[in-house]
Amino acid sequence: MPTPSPARVHDAVVVSNVPVASSLWRLVFRAPRLAASLSSGQFFSIAVPGEPKQTARVPLSFSAIDYDAGTVETVYAVQGPGTRALAAMAPGAETTVLGPGGHGWSIDAATHRCLMVAGGCGITPILSAAVSMGLEGMDYDVVVGARTGSAVWGVDRLVASGAGNVIVVTDDGTAGAKGTTVDVVESALPTEKYDLVLTCGPEPMMRGVAELCAEWSVACQVSMERMMTCGFGACATCVVPTDHGNVGACMGGPVFDATEVVW
């Protein structure tokens, strides 16, 4: 039989849960066995009890792990009933988390120089990638895009992780340059020698980045977001169309080689 997902149901206790930017919240919860099992770019799914409009778990990436404390950090956008209910969970609140889910970024030690591109709450798995690469002493720059300045989060942390350049762009120019992350990638790829691009954000953005990478023959990995009912390969609700058919994002992703994805 194929290998079942390593995901398990773990008890979790909220340690802190506060807004960090406009509509972005930062949640830290304690779940030691989950913390020990997650690798960069993987996800977990959290149950939000008491919200009738959210029966399935909410799938989330993580931004950092504190192995000593057994805690997981995630940064999430408040979008609808599920994430609103999540934002209402106070320190001490108990729930369960399911994970680890899927496979994360695949980062080859031979990578010369990496460009990471985060849009909106796509910052979350990008930050954990930056932390991993930083620990390995690798060379990477990060583009952080947001609608507006007040929605930008994580720049300090990216810098602290060891990023070379951290470039901020906003749609309205209220922080960093005015423009989109795709604009930045477009001007960077021809001049800078990247051999890997990692990206997470709105699908049109990732598609734009992927097309530029194809044009410049740079390897590109995209972290795809799909509505997920289970998160461990049982329901087929999370499919991404690829050149070898529909692939479930929860087991075959969420990180895909951009050239496989049929946009």
Partner: protein, 308 residues
């Protein structure tokens, strides 16, 4: 008091206990081996498979609604050969350990149902029974388009019945259940799975579009439980073949309601997805309830609802 007997006979499928799983919410079973020993369940029902692979519908295929979810998966499946290649060995082993494997059969037309049944006959000797899905709300042809009238439902079963001597279940749509159930019994169905998800619609009022890639999808989860219990009760009074109750089971009490209403077995569906460890818990709770009722056999409680 010794533990009560939990074994039941679902139209010729001998289950060690009444807990089954609902097609499409349990993959091919192996997905749950990380959570518990699947062979402890009475049966599992595998994702509906057709003779040839189907790609299913585009994303989004799922959205959250009040106390449930809606899906428009559209029976994505690798075809019978794909199922057997991926999971045949695992399912054969499961069946040896005493957990019955029910394979669900999908089709867009009578001919496709027949073709799929013939492939299962050939390739899946370990299958304890076949469940014909005439109730998928998410495909343009076949599915509930055929299963929502007594005539359409009967036609499918008339065609597949002669092709297999194994127990034949039929998964019913939540429409005209009494008439359809009678028609299915008359055509030789051995048991009925009542019910599939209920067609429903969720609109994003900002974009004015469906929250799914199709206008409608199938509603499932706790939200449809009490409707399903009513339908099981109606069908139980109309036919003599056993019923597999499906819809919103998330606790032993939910399962017990189906049994009291007349179900012989009970399938856990969406709850497997939200809470992957739930099926053995539901079985334990059900067993506790049977004992609490002062009977030594779950069969005494089938249909034991008391009309006042």
């Amino acid at each position: 008091m010794s533990a009560p007997n939990m074994a039941v006979d679902l139209g010729g499928i001998q289950m060690s206990n009444p807990v089954n799983t609902a097609a499409g919410t349990y993959g091919f079973g192996w997905q749950f081996e990380g959570f518990y020993d699947v062979s402890t369940l009475g049966a599992i029902t595998t994702k509906g498979c057709a003779a040839e692979p189907w790609p299913g519908n585009p994303a989004p295929r799922m959205c959250d609604v009040t106390s449930g979810v809606m899906n428009s998966v559209g029976l994505q499946n690798p075809g019978v050969r794909g199922l057997v290649a991926e999971a045949g060995e695992y399912l054969a082993g499961l069946s040896e350990k005493g957990c019955q494997v029910i394979c669900q059969v999908a089709g867009h037309s009578v001919d496709e149902y027949v073709a799929a049944v013939e492939l299962f006959e050939e390739l899946a000797p370990w299958a304890a029974g076949l469940e014909i899905n005439i109730s998928c709300p998410n495909i343009a042809a076949g599915g509930c388009a055929m299963g929502s009238t007594p005539e359409g439902a009967a036609e499918v079963v008339r065609a597949v019945r002669p092709r297999t001597s194994r127990p034949l279940l039929v998964k019913m749509a939540p429409a005209r259940v009494v008439d359809v159930a009678r028609a299915l019994e008359a055509e030789g169905a051995d048991a009925l799975s009542v019910i599939n998800s209920i067609p429903a619609m969720a609109i994003d009022v900002h974009t004015r579009r469906s929250k799914l890639s199709r206008p409608t999808g199938g509603l499932s989860g706790p939200v449809l439980h009490n409707i399903a219990v009513r339908m099981v009760w109606e069908v139980a009074q109309a036919v003599d073949i056993p019923i597999n109750g499906v819809g919103g089971v998330a606790s032993g009490e939910d399962a017990a309601e189906f049994i009291l209403a007349g179900a012989t077995a009970v399938s856990v569906g969406s709850a497997n997805l939200f809470d992957p460890e739930c099926a053995p818990r539901i079985l334990a709770e059900l067993e506790e309830w049977v004992a609490s009722q002062g009977v030594d056999d779950v069969n005494e409680l089938i249909g034991a609802f008391e009309c006042q």
